[in-house]
Subunit: 183 residues, 2 copies
């Protein structure tokens, strides 16, 4: 079975309270993302640590009930931190970073490396008998197989989300097609 | 069979002529690398393109009979270029970049993304019956299998060389052990 790739660059999600502190206004939509209801905003923050900083990190909307900073391992080396690999919403042992917005600054204990994951509806997962972990085969000049988590939800656009390290290691771009093995 | 990982950050190799232009002096050794005769120098250049630049790129020694710039796909996006994946020494369709040293500047048509490869002696390759391509199994939090090229030479330290994209995608560090499948 084929699945398309969505490459996630570093980004953040914010609570309403943290949004208020950082921006003092609501998020404005730049464009809709493929996942239903999700959008890229026109708002950006700087992620700062003792070692370094990364500017122009986009905020995704809408606001959530948790703030979450998602970066790659490459970013983590630059920032001098060691965030855990986590599914979205699981902030156990997350790293602490400072976020700087135009209206204010917060220190947040919510920096993770997002796991490789597939968005799918509960219905699709059951219909196609897809397990909780899937092996994905990648062809091209840098071949391989990666294990990814399957994350069903009520509403979802069927897609494999990889961070920029995974995408770049396998020369994958947005909307490339890869293969789910044994499905 | 197990093999240790060596992570290659972006770096360059220079001809004597290009070294003369960029530095106007010989390379000085910072430390020996594991591959026999190879060393990290104390000399650094800037890689520049129309879009951007990357500073502090280390020169490896000794000088070679070709100049070669080895970067990651992540670097390539930053620089706005599209270098091919190549084995060292194969500069077919290589990208053009400008190198800036303390003594001068060159434009070189030699920028590649190095392929994933294993260094091994001809004798070891024959002894262990290792084919020209091998699948490497990576465990840990981000699991997978990657295909790598086997590059025998007369003298070699047995090691798997990955660039920073591959290493970071699989959370691998220098001297980590991974497994060669079916060998």
């Amino acid at each position: 079975m084929k699945i398309t790739v969505g490459v996630s660059n570093r980004h953040i999600h914010l609570t309403q309270n943290d949004l208020d502190i950082l921006f003092g206004k609501e998020l404005t939509k730049s464009k809709d993302l493929k996942q239903p209801g999700q959008f890229a905003s026109n708002e950006f923050v700087t992620i700062k640590t003792i070692k370094s900083e990364i500017t122009n990190v986009r905020v995704l909307g809408p606001v959530r009930d948790y703030t979450q900073v998602e970066i790659s391992k490459t970013d983590a080396y630059k920032l001098g931190i060691n965030p855990p690999v986590r599914s979205s919403g699981n902030l156990k042992d997350a790293e602490t970073v400072t976020l700087i917005g135009p209206n204010g600054t917060i220190v947040t204990n919510s920096c993770i490396i997002a796991d490789r994951h597939i968005h799918i509806t509960y219905d699709e997962k059951q219909k196609y008998n897809i397990p909780d972990k899937v092996n994905i085969k990648i062809n091209g000049e840098k071949k391989g197989i990666i294990e990814v988590n399957v994350k069903p939800s009520q509403e979802a656009f069927f897609e494999l989300h990889l961070d920029t390290d995974d995408a770049n290691a396998f020369l994958l771009k947005n909307d490339d097609e890869v293969e789910m093995l044994n499905i």
